[in-house]
Each structure stands twice: as C-alpha cells, then as structure tokens.
C-alpha cells in the first residue's frame, strides 16, 4: 500500500483514453470530442479504458460490439451517450449519459474512470464466453492443434494459404474483414480485403443482411429535413461548410495531424458567413503540411468515366464532372451559383474540392438573405444528390472495390477517408445477399 493509491490518484487526473463508437446521429458529436483536452481518443481498444458508444448502434452489430468491448483494456467500462436516440445499444452499458452537452459527457467519462480507478466501480467483465476460436488443446503430435507443417488449427486458428500475385510469387494471402469499428472508417463499414503483404489484392464491401432491424435514417439533420420542408439557404450552406470542414478534419487525423484537425474542428463549430478568408488561410496551411500535397497526390484516382451512374457531389466534381443539383434550384440560381469543379480525381482533388466548396458555401450563406430552397427541386447534400431511397453512400461504396484493388494499405485508408462516407447512411444499408445493391 502507499504507492498504488498515489499512482491511481495521479492517473485519475490524466486525459482518459476513450475508444469512441459513433452510432447513427452521433458522428459530428464524436468527431468534436477531439477538442476535449480531458479525453484522449484512441484508435485501438487496447489503448482505451473507456468504451464510449454514442447514438444508436444497430442490433446486428451486437457480436462485433461485444468483441470490441472485450478488447478494451482493464479496468474498463462502457458508457452510452444517447444523443436523443431511444434505442439502447445491443450491449447494456454501465453508465448512460442522456444530456447532449459534450461537457456533461466529459464530466461523466472522467468521473467514471476515476471511480473505476478507486475501485468504486468494478471493471466490466468480458461479455463473450471464454471459448477458443476452435478446439485445439491436446490435438496433434505436440498438442498445439495442428498436424504437419501447415495443417490443423494450431492454437485455435488455421494458417493462411498461398495465392498467386502480380509479381509472380505465390505467398500467403490474408482475407480479413476490417470494420465495423475500424477507427478510420465510418461505423458500420465492413471491408473484406484480401491482403498480400501490405497490398490490397481485392476488396469488397459487406453489407448488413436485410431484415435486420434498421437504424432508420430518421436522425434529423438539416439536409434530411430539407427534403420535405423549405429551409433557408443560409442554414443549408452553413451546414454544408460545417460538413466539409469535418470531413477535412477526419482526413487530417488519418494523415497524422490531429492538432490541425482540432483547429479545423474549432473552425467548423463556430463557422460564420464572413469567414471565407479563413478558408483561404486553411488552404495554405493544408498545402504547406502536404495534406494537399504529396500525402494525397495521385492516391485513389477515380476517372470520370467510372462515375456514370455512381457518385455525385464533391467526389464527382473533383473528377471534373460539372454537375450540381443546386443549379436546378431557383433560389441558388438567383444567387448566381456556379458549381466548382476540380480535375485530377484523386484524394487531393477531393479534399481541395471540399475546401473550395466550404468557402463557396460560406459566401453563399452570406449572400442568401432569407431565401429558402425549393423542396421540389432535387437536393444537393454535402455528399452528393440526396433523395428518399437514394443515399450518397450507396453510390459511393460501389466505387471502392475497383479503386482499392492493388493499393497499399495506407493509400487505401486515405482513399476511403477521401470519399467522406456518412455514418448514418452506411449503418442504414441493407441487402438480401450482403452484397452491395447495384445503384
């Protein structure tokens, strides 16, 4: 005694390592937690003590959520930040926070962690039963579960098998499903990739089976409301700028610049119509940091001819497709709106496109006065054309297999990040055969 309580007292004042799962309707709020100095958002559950589940996580992810929970380091607890959702997570959390105010959440997380350290709360026990992935003990000549050089299930799992590759070697191919809680992907996105070394040989998107209770995309957002009711153009455009800036912030995190991401997030949360020069300054900063430079140049190119019938929005415009639903809206025409188009079609062009559009959106918001958009015209969301039953994510995801093929893993992650997929939309996707529905 003596030393340990002292260490625990000091530890209770440290930034709390949190693994955050952003469920439906919670992505923006979870992204903003990066601004909280008393939380430390981590990418891997091993580094975390608190599992934060925000918004609603659909029931079909129960197994994965349980496995994630069991991977969190002890002492651990899970905490649910409801954010207006009434559907509790499929795994009962120890603590619930009903208030949407982030400072209340931070208080709760810090307090939970402190009580966990002081033994007032007990570390949550493993959810999954203590079962080996496959029975192996005592099997085989050495009791390791295998036979021969490559047979059996040594220590519970089989070994990988060889497959041909483009450089003529036949080496092991690892088929893994990455997601649905991979920190760089939106929650719910599961990529089944075949890796040889660090190169993606094949990737495909696994979708939740039909019939699973859907998290309806009924989480109200400005753009979903705008489908039915007229919304002031200034409100829409401010929201667009915010969304684009958030997307840039998560790209910055993926490119290992969390500090700059904080700067962008702070900008996004206080965004104001007369800040378009700040966007210029941000552009210079991103160029200098090479996020809009060699870090993304030539990564994940999507030529415009691949885009027919698939992506719309900034992804399409970054590939040189001059198409924007706002040009059909009389309110925007009155403002002299002209779509911005970049060419290049790579991750860099997509990020530059979003930054330019954020600046444009701020200008439009400043000039819009009290104009309202026309709910009859089709709606351009920050991720492309939005209509009932026509979600941008559904148009973006089919691009992934072709783009990711043959890509180094780091570039593959940059590419997925550059598509700016919406968590709510990804969580809503269903298909009968778990394959992506063809748009």
């Amino acid at each position: 005694m003596g030393l340990r309580p002292a260490v625990e007292r000091v530890a209770a004042r440290a930034p709390v390592p949190v693994f955050a799962v952003a469920g439906a309707g919670a992505q923006a709020q979870v992204d903003d937690l990066l601004l909280q100095p008393r939380l430390h958002l981590v990418d891997s559950p091993a580094a975390a003590n608190v599992l934060l589940i925000a918004g609603s996580v659909p029931a079909h992810l129960a197994g994965e959520l349980a496995r994630l929970h069991d991977g969190v380091s002890r002492p651990r607890l899970s905490l649910w930040w409801s954010l207006g959702s009434s559907v509790a997570p499929p795994m009962p959390p120890a603590v619930e926070v009903l208030d949407a105010d982030p400072s209340v959440l931070v208080e709760a997380v810090v307090d939970t962690h402190r009580r966990l350290l002081f033994g007032e709360l007990t570390s949550s026990p493993p959810v999954l039963p203590d079962e080996e992935p496959a029975p192996w003990r005592g099997i085989g000549p050495y009791g390791q579960g295998g036979t021969g050089m490559t047979g059996g299930v040594p220590y519970g799992r089989p070994m990988a098998e060889v497959a041909p590759d483009r450089d003529g070697l036949r080496l092991d191919q690892l088929t893994v499903r990455i997601g649905p809680f991979f920190a760089r992907f939106p929650t719910g996105l599961v990529l089944e990739v075949q890796l040889q070394g660090d190169v993606v040989q094949q990737a495909h998107v696994v979708v939740a089976p039909e019939g699973e209770a859907a998290v309806e995309v009924d989480v109200p957002t400005t753009f979903r409301d705008a489908l039915n009711t007229p919304v002031p153009v200034s409100v829409l455009e401010l929201e667009r700028a915010r969304s684009h800036l958030r997307s840039i912030a998560s790209a910055l995190v993926a490119h290992q610049l969390p500090s700059l991401a904080r700067r962008v997030l702070r900008f996004a949360s206080n965004v104001h119509p007369d800040q378009s020069e700040d966007v210029q300054r941000l552009h210079r900063l991103l160029r200098r940091s090479q996020v809009l430079g060699w870090a993304t140049k030539g990564v994940g190119p999507i030529p415009s001819d691949q885009l027919e019938g698939t992506a719309t929005g900034p992804v399409a415009r970054a590939s040189g497709v001059d198409q924007d639903e706002r040009t059909t809206d009389p309110a925007y025409l009155g403002l002299g709106f002209e779509p911005i188009v970049h060419d290049g079609g790579d991750a860099r062009a997509r990020m530059a496109q979003r930054l330019a559009e954020a600046g444009q959106a701020l200008q439009l918001a400043g000039r819009a006065g009290d104009r309202h958009h026309d709910p009859e015209a089709s709606l351009e969301s920050p991720r492309g054309r939005l209509a009932v039953g026509d979600l941008p994510a559904q148009r973006l995801l089919p691009l992934l297999p072709a783009v990711l093929e043959g890509m180094e893993w780091g570039d593959a992650v940059s590419t997925v990040v550059s598509l700016d997929l919406d968590t709510d939309e990804v969580l809503a996707l269903r298909s009968p055969d778990r394959e992506l529905p063809v748009p």
């Binding site: 493993p126 070697l169 088929t175």
Partner: protein
C-alpha cells in the same frame, strides 16, 4: 587495448537501459488479477475476428530493394576508413572513392530505371 573502457561504459549503459525498460514493462504484472478470456486476446481488426493467424508468408514487396541494400551496406564498410584518412591522402582519396561510388551509383540508377524500387 586502450580503447576498451569507453565501449565497456557504453555496454553497461545498454544493458542497464534495456533491463530498466523491461522492468518498467513488467511493473503492472505485479498488479495483474485474473487471466484474460480467449475473446479478450483476439487481435483487433475493427470488431471482426481474424479467420487465420496473422503470422504467414508475408509478402514483403521490397525484396529487390533489400538486395540492393545488402550491396550498398557492404560499400559503407569501405567508407569509414576512407573518411578517416581522407584529409591525409588528399586528392587521390577523393578520386578513388569517387570512382568506387560512381560504379555503385550505376547500380542504383539501374534499379531505379528498371522500376525495381516500386512495389504497389
């Protein structure tokens, strides 16, 4: 034999620092409670379990670069003694090493030209 003591001091520092860090790393074992369950030991892939062991015939695609490195590393050995006597030998040292390096740079140029350094 005069030069051994400094190396001995460096060795002592190495041994001590290594042991100290291994000790720090083992510090929490003292407070460890019950063992982990099997699901707690599953490598993290984002929620899904891996189907196979990650240990495999890993396709390191930079093997050509690695072979190039082997040759170049060998060359570096010649350069240390050269650097020490460079000033005393003067122009001849410059010319000889210049020739040696030029020959080896041809190899790098060849690798670059054959695109042997790229893999993705």
């Amino acid at each position: 034999m005069a030069a051994l003591e400094p190396l001995g001091a460096a060795l002592a520092v190495f041994v001590f620092a290594t042991i100290a860090l291994v000790a720090i790393r083992s510090a929490s074992d003292a407070t460890a409670g019950v063992g982990e369950t099997a699901p707690e030991r599953v490598p993290f892939l984002g929620g899904h379990e891996p189907d196979v062991h990650a240990w495999s015939r890993f396709h390191a695609r930079y093997y050509v670069m690695a072979l190039l490195f082997l040759a170049f590393d060998m060359e570096m050995v010649f350069m240390y003694p050269w650097a020490v006597v460079f000033v005393r030998e003067g122009g001849i040292a410059l010319a000889e090493m210049g020739m040696f390096i030029t020959i080896l740079l041809v190899g790098v140029l060849y690798a670059w030209r054959e695109r042997a350094l790229r893999w993705a």
